[in-house]
């Protein structure tokens, strides 16, 4: 492993103001090199998509000369096709993702609170089986999901196939599980003495949860929310089975169809769509970076 050559920063006494390049390089300079290299690796595909999105043609050829041309034709094509309503896909994804994220935070948080703060029989088994049941990806059960939603839709059309609410319910079925486990770890880092103090003050258990604990575990809630939002935006199979009509589709299903057919693949429109599809998550991620890092890491460490 490359780690062998890693000099640790420890034990370095105050760096003198005028340092030699060699010393600078040994100390931090090489880190910049690594950073630049890995940074390029990390960001390049996104630059590539952006360049494609701004190229006037719809094909992959010629897309290798990055940023040679500037045209908004790709954006125009993806936004103006009434049979492939990108706007509706975008809204659907935001709505479904948002609701599922919120529902996951709420239900997962409640469950994690119970597991973390209460002692009851079946607790250990419950937590473990939650984790295991979640090991069954919904992709594997799409047939059963399809039939189930079909049956539900016969009685309650609003919840059946081809509805966003139906898909939301399916996703919420996966709300517990790993998320609960992640939150459970974080909840445990909050000392129980806080609960007890509140209880002495006369606060009920619900009040303690909603006004005190939620505040303390906020980073992990953000993390779980974002994770489930990402999972929703990235899901392809379940969404494509549940939603079969253009105006109910999500971005993953819709965008894929733009390039699925070799004959009609429009990479320019796809790239433009991809850029717009990625923006909300990227922005959310950057804006909440602080919480994500502390949530992920603290949860991990516990």
């Amino acid at each position: 492993m490359t780690v062998t050559t890693t000099p640790t920063s420890s034990g370095v006494v105050l760096t003198p103001k005028k340092r030699t390049f060699k010393k600078f390089f040994n100390d931090t300079g090489w880190r910049h090199l690594v950073g630049i290299a890995v940074g390029i690796y990390a960001v390049f595909p996104i630059l590539y998509v952006l360049s494609n999105a701004l190229s006037p043609t719809g094909t992959l050829t010629g897309s290798n000369k990055l940023f040679q041309a500037f045209s908004l034709a790709g954006f125009e094509r993806v936004l103006s096709n009434p049979d492939k309503p990108f706007g509706a896909w975008f809204m659907n994804t935001m709505i479904i993702g948002g609701v599922v994220a919120f529902g996951t935070i709420l239900m997962g948080g409640l469950a994690a609170y119970a597991f973390s703060r209460m002692r009851f029989s079946g607790r250990r088994v419950g937590l473990l089986s939650l984790l295991l049941i979640q090991m069954f990806p919904q992709v594997l059960a799409v047939i059963a999901i399809f039939l189930l939603l079909g049956a539900i839709g016969d009685v309650f059309p609003v919840l059946g196939l081809n509805t966003r609410t139906g898909l939301i319910m399916v996703y919420l079925g996966g709300a517990l599980g790993v998320n609960t486990y992640l939150m459970y770890g974080f909840f445990n880092t909050v000392p129980t003495s806080i609960d007890e103090a509140a209880r002495i003050d006369g606060a009920g258990h619900a009040r303690i949860f909603f006004t005190i604990i939620v505040r303390l575990v906020f980073p992990i809630l953000i993390v779980v929310g974002i994770l489930s939002f990402i999972a929703v935006t990235g899901d392809f199979v379940v969404a494509s089975v549940v939603l079969s009509e253009p105006d109910t589709k999500t971005l993953a299903v819709g965008l894929y169809e733009i390039i699925a057919n070799d004959r009609a693949a429009d990479w320019g429109a796809f790239s433009a769509g991809a850029v717009m599809a990625a923006l909300p998550v990227l922005i959310l991620f950057m804006a909440l970076q602080k919480y994500i890092i502390s949530g992920l890491t603290a949860g991990a460490v516990k």
């Binding site: 094909t59 992959l60 050829t61 049979d83 492939k84 935001m94 709505i95 479904i96 948002g98 609701v99 994220a101 919120f102 529902g103 399809f146 039939l147 079909g150 839709g153 059309p157 609003v158 059946g160 196939l161 081809n162 509805t163 966003r164 609410t165 139906g166 939301i168 939620v214 505040r215 303390l216 906020f218 980073p219 809630l221 494509s240 089975v241 079969s244 009509e245 253009p246 105006d247 109910t248 169809e257 699925a260 057919n261 070799d262 004959r263 009609a264 693949a265 919480y291 502390s294």
Partner: protein
Amino acid sequence: MLVKPKRILAIGALVTSAALLLSGCSGSSDDKSADSGNGTTLTVWVDSDRLAVLKTAAEEYSKEQGVTIKLVDKSIETMKADFAREAPTGKGPDIIMGAHDWIGGYVADGIISPIELGDKASEFSDVAINAVTYDSKIYQVPYAVENIGILRNTELVPDATPATWDEMIAAGRATGKKYPFVVTQNGPEGDPYHVYPLQSSFGSSIFGLDDKGEYNPDDLTIGNAEGVAFANWLGTVGDVIQGDISGDVAKQAFLDGEAPFWLTGPWSVKEAQDAGIKLAVDPIPSAGGQEANPFAGVKGFYINSKSKNAVAANDFLVNFIATDKIQTALFEQGGVLPAMTSAADKAASDPTVEGFKNAGKNAIPMPSIPAMADVWTPWGIAEGDILTGADPTATWSKLATDIQAAIDESK
């Protein structure tokens, strides 16, 4: 760490409950006007390529009969399987537009209804009626007949495409362009549909015909001597028919003027013309000495056997789509050879349509029997393997044995 999440939480809750409300409302409004009493809505699945073509026709029918036609854009990649999954539950569309070779599988699933064309059947071309007939019944209202042919860039090769493969490749090489000739392949999975005309020029076929002229699944002919001869020829052209020339690569090569010949179908014409290529459509040259006959593919409309709007669906297809007026109108917008003879005659004045018609004058319908399901994939893979250097004779005979075994098993 201590944060003040109250405001964020509140906003989040507000946004999500608004979203829930939105999704709930719009969800319910989606839920089909079809089952409400006033006004019938026919849901029709159409692949993206043809949606625009059908739009005007659908609007016209709505005006005439007061039946709303809801055209749904479906990816051709997933449409076939989606319909097979949804139709048995009674959830599918009333009508689906697709290729004729889905018939066998759909009949076995019991998800499409026979359609009575009555006297109109005689107004369609023989090949079209032949293709949509299965077990003596018609299951599809044909709309267009497609077959592939050679698209030639007339600026690179002004003379008509030579009659033999070797001459064509020589002419292609003489242009000095990157590719002498392109044809779509799907990597190692080959593309037997596009290569079939060359195979047929060796006299090789997949299934024999029974006395009614329908494909006979009990008579697998792919492995006979003609087939082996074709396989051996295929083993020599791996430098021209390249596995990774996928559809978009082939297209781009032709559009860029990097390939003088492109073995493709009418669906490619418009884009080539838009790109400013001057083109002609020629018959496919023979590789094995006999005439090269492509498969004829018929595009048409199926009716879901569980449709609650069977009468409206039949009326739309039989009394509207199957008329000279609409077939001509669809041709004018889509540029594909109409299945109805009278409309096809009018269309033949278009040189590219005529070119494809010539290329496919003896085309036979692509087999639609369910046994074909056991053929396509291994067939393509065997071709892909041979193109990349596998032993032609051994690979081909193994292919025939494997297909026979698969057919026997799925009986």
